[in-house]
């Protein structure tokens, strides 16, 4: 099993009003020194081993990100059999 963590972020220079508003709110709470705050997107894909990083890149270019305004970063994690079993046990325990 694989897991892809995808971070879709606004390109440099694209105004992020939501981030700016949150930054102001932190200012009001007395947290000084925060020069920039961005609110971006995190997408997680849990896939079979057949889904390659190349395919995920293509998914980002086609749909998950808009290259006109966004950049993306993909982090791939391959789970070992032991990790998968642990995950399974945890899921069953949660039920």
């Amino acid at each position: 099993m694989k897991q892809y963590k995808i971070f879709v972020t606004g390109k440099q220079g694209i105004f992020d009003p939501a981030g700016e508003t949150a930054r102001h709110a932190l200012d009001n709470l007395g947290y000084i020194g925060i020069e920039n705050l961005r609110i971006d997107k995190y997408i997680q894909l849990d896939t079979s081993d057949t889904v390659t990083a190349e395919m995920v890149k293509e998914m980002c270019e086609k749909l998950l990100a808009n290259p006109v305004i966004e950049d993306f970063l993909i982090e791939e994690t391959v789970m070992t059999v032991a990790e998968e079993a642990a995950e399974q046990t945890k899921a069953e325990a949660d039920e």
């Binding site: 694209i14 105004f15 009003p17 749909l63 808009n66 006109v68």
Partner: protein, 239 residues
């Protein structure tokens, strides 16, 4: 004005579109034939122009217009547009056109974070757009209603839009002037409210001309957009 009743518009309906009825009503009021095209349909034969209406296609999930772009009908709309047939995208339809790369740039969250629902003044610019046939400098009063209408593109694209006369409408003051800090209530780059492709047959705009066609809402200012295209639509259709 030429006869319009022989022209038939198709208004695409995506799940979440909510201005398709307004568009059909406006077009019929102006004398055109107008029918709905379901997003799963793939046959655009018999339509002289296609409208992508406003709304929240696919709940605006991911990005406005991002999912609608992959609807079965959109592959046909792309081919239709590339063959020179008239296509207009209003509000969410404009967002779909940019996602489908039929128009350059993108539409992001309004600068002030507010959903804007108000009348705005729009200045007609000198452009190659087939949908607008008014002297440059004409000021139109048409409503906007959107959360993501802040047009953005890179410098190179903007220079291209300016050079090729693809900027069709700009937000302006009542007298047609523009403030130095910008007259776009949503923060749009260069006060851009509407652009077209190089050929002029594909037009995207954030304002809603279909809402001001029959006078019921106090104005008929939007009619001009739909009447101007008749001549071109007939020409392309070979009639």
């Amino acid at each position: 004005m030429s006869r319009v009743e022989d022209l038939r518009f198709g208004v695409v309906t995506f799940p979440g579109s909510n201005c398709e009825q307004d568009a059909v009503h406006a077009l019929r009021h102006l004398g055109y034939q107008a029918d709905y095209i379901w997003h799963q349909d793939t046959d655009l034969n018999g339509f002289d122009a296609v409208v992508l209406p406003g709304g929240f296609s696919y709940g605006d999930y991911l990005r406005c217009g991002a999912v609608a772009r992959f609807s079965p009908v959109m592959a046909e709309v792309v081919g239709y547009a590339e063959s020179g047939r008239p296509v207009i995208g209003i509000c969410n339809g404009f967002q779909v056109l940019t996602e489908a790369h039929l128009l350059p740039g993108a539409l992001i969250r309004n600068k002030g974070l507010k959903f804007l629902c108000q009348n705005v003044h729009l200045r007609v610019e000198e452009s190659v757009c087939k949908w607008v046939d008014l002297p440059a400098g004409t000021v139109l009063d048409i409503p906007i209603s959107h959360n993501e209408g802040n047009y953005i593109c890179d410098e190179e694209t903007l220079a291209g839009l300016q050079e090729n006369a693809q900027i069709v409408l700009r937000y302006c003051e009542p007298d047609g002037s523009r403030l130095s800090g910008g007259s776009a209530p949503n923060g749009a780059l260069d006060d851009i409210a509407g652009i077209c492709n190089q050929r002029g047959n594909v037009f995207g705009l954030m304002p809603h001309p279909e809402r001001v066609t029959d006078g019921v809402s106090g104005s008929k200012a939007g009619s001009v957009v739909f009447t101007a295209i008749a001549t071109y639509a007939r020409e392309v259709a070979g009639r």
